[in-house]
């Protein structure tokens, strides 16, 4: 990545939340600074947020239960919100969901702002709701989320297992916005992370202008479904 092409960058602290409207054609790189980060993420069509990331449509259109380079994130309206254009991790979790206040308290004990100040424990669900609230959205807009940098594998019997050490320091994933995408992130620990200690990790974000997906774009060509997904997304802007 050419540093001169970066429009702006920012570090999201551990256990914090963030939101921004990624403009169509820009690329967000998320970098796991220390290794072992988790980034809970939700995506909405900024112009009509009732169109939003749809886990099921994303998985079944591409026959996947993981996300990596070449795959895309579908909305419930047959359009592509973001494409995964680069990934040095190899597996991001679309299944595990987010933690709640009850889960975090049961797992790590209570840690309130009054005593712990900005090191207090935060959870994924409340972080999403606070950030969504800033855009006029709320609990009805909470849908299954992605967890970047985390891996949950599914056994033959359907059992779910969190794999530690999935992401190492400096690893990154890049998302190219195919629409104007309200992107809501938080760096709370993955709900299945077995670490008994509350240990969220920071991530670094860098946004740059990307190259539009041409006829030979790897995400467009990775599956025939994605070719149609790009066509439908491009029609939306005609």
């Amino acid at each position: 990545m050419d540093p001169a092409s970066v429009l702006w960058e920012e570090t999201v602290e551990a256990g914090a939340s963030w939101s921004h409207v990624l403009k169509r054609g820009t690329v967000l790189r998320i970098i796991d600074i220390e290794g072992g980060a988790n980034v809970g993420a939700l995506f909405y069509n900024f112009e009509c947020p009732v169109e939003r990331y749809n886990m099921a449509d994303t998985l079944k259109a591409q026959h996947i239960a993981r996300l990596t380079e070449g795959f895309v994130l579908y909305s419930d309206m047959g359009r592509i919100l973001c494409s995964v254009v680069a990934d040095s991790v190899g597996w991001h979790d679309p299944l595990g969901g987010c933690s709640s206040a009850a889960l975090v308290t049961a797992k790590y004990g209570e840690s309130r702002y009054q005593e712990a100040r900005n090191q207090c424990h935060r959870n994924g669900r409340d972080s999403f709701l606070v950030e969504l609230g800033k855009w006029g959205l709320g609990p009805r807009d909470l849908v299954p989320n992605v967890n970047f940098f985390s891996r949950v594998s599914v056994g033959e019997d359907g059992g779910m297992e969190f794999l530690e050490g999935n992401s190492r320091p400096g690893m990154y994933v890049e998302l190219r916005a195919e629409m104007n995408v309200l992107t809501v992130l938080n760096t709370c620990p993955h709900p299945l992370d077995p670490n008994p200690k509350y240990a969220p990790k920071p991530v670094h974000l860098a946004i740059r202008r990307g190259t539009p997906p041409g006829a030979g774009d790897p995400c467009r060509l990775s599956r025939p479904e994605n070719g149609r997904g790009f066509t439908l997304t491009e029609r939306y802007f005609l």
Binding site: M55, A56, A61, I64, R66, D76, L95, G158, M160, E225
Partner: protein, 218 residues
């Protein structure tokens, strides 16, 4: 197939307080009160029954696929599964299941996702999310598209592999198989009896299903 466990119910359909046959391709919404038992019968076999649940007292607190599978650390739904809400409430518990395994990752079909998955010309084929939209609009009380989220597909077979692949496979249900739930709180159930003709989820022939409700304390 590993992990399939069949549990039968002792409830007699003759004592049910409610019974209705949902034709293929139709929506159905109905409240199930705390303590009542709710059964869905796959009358003809291999029929996907797309189902959403809401806390009847707060529709913003609704069935959550991710919370449900994470809570039990397993992606398949069967006897013993607690159907969790986004707010952390157990809405219902599956208490009997003669099919043995149900999906909650495949979502509901939509005219839009059919265009992506099959062909842009498929746009005008009937789909579950059109049924859900019709159903919630007729139900009213503020329910709308925003409230249609990730559902359960009863009787549907969507295996995931350790390598992270997901496929729609032939069903493992047969005529007369059923799943039965006990409501742990007052819930609103919303069903789309799936009209999908493009994949094997309904054996390419959508058919009616029966819903039954019994009062509790049995």
């Amino acid at each position: 197939m590993s992990g399939i466990r069949v549990v039968e119910s002792r409830l007699d359909p003759a004592t049910a307080v409610y019974s209705f046959e949902i034709p293929a391709g139709e929506p159905w919404l109905h409240e199930v009160r705390k303590g009542q038992y709710f059964r869905i019968v796959d009358l003809k076999g291999n029929q996907a029954v797309d189902t959403l649940f809401y806390n009847a007292h707060d529709y913003s607190d609704r069935y959550s696929a991710q919370d449900t599978i994470r809570e039990q650390r397993n992606i398949y739904l069967t006897t013993g599964t607690k159907l969790m809400s986004t707010g952390g409430t157990a809405l219902l518990t599956i208490v009997a299941d003669t099919c043995g395994r149900h999906d909650t990752l495949g979502g509901a079909c939509a005219t839009e996702s059919n265009m992506v998955r099959y062909a842009i010309e498929k746009r005008f084929m009937h789909a579950c999310r059109n049924s859900f939209l019709k159903g919630v609009t007729e139900w009213g009380r503020g329910l709308e598209k925003r409230d249609i989220t990730c559902n359960i597909n009863f009787f549907m077979n969507v295996p995931v592999t350790p390598e992270g692949k997901l496929t729609f496979e032939d069903g493992i249900s047969d005529p007369g198989k059923y799943v039965e739930m006990r409501a742990e709180t007052d819930v609103l159930a919303a069903i789309s009896n799936c009209p999908q003709l493009n994949n094997p989820c309904n054996a390419y022939n959508p058919t009616p299903v029966q819903v039954l409700i019994w009062d509790g304390a049995l």
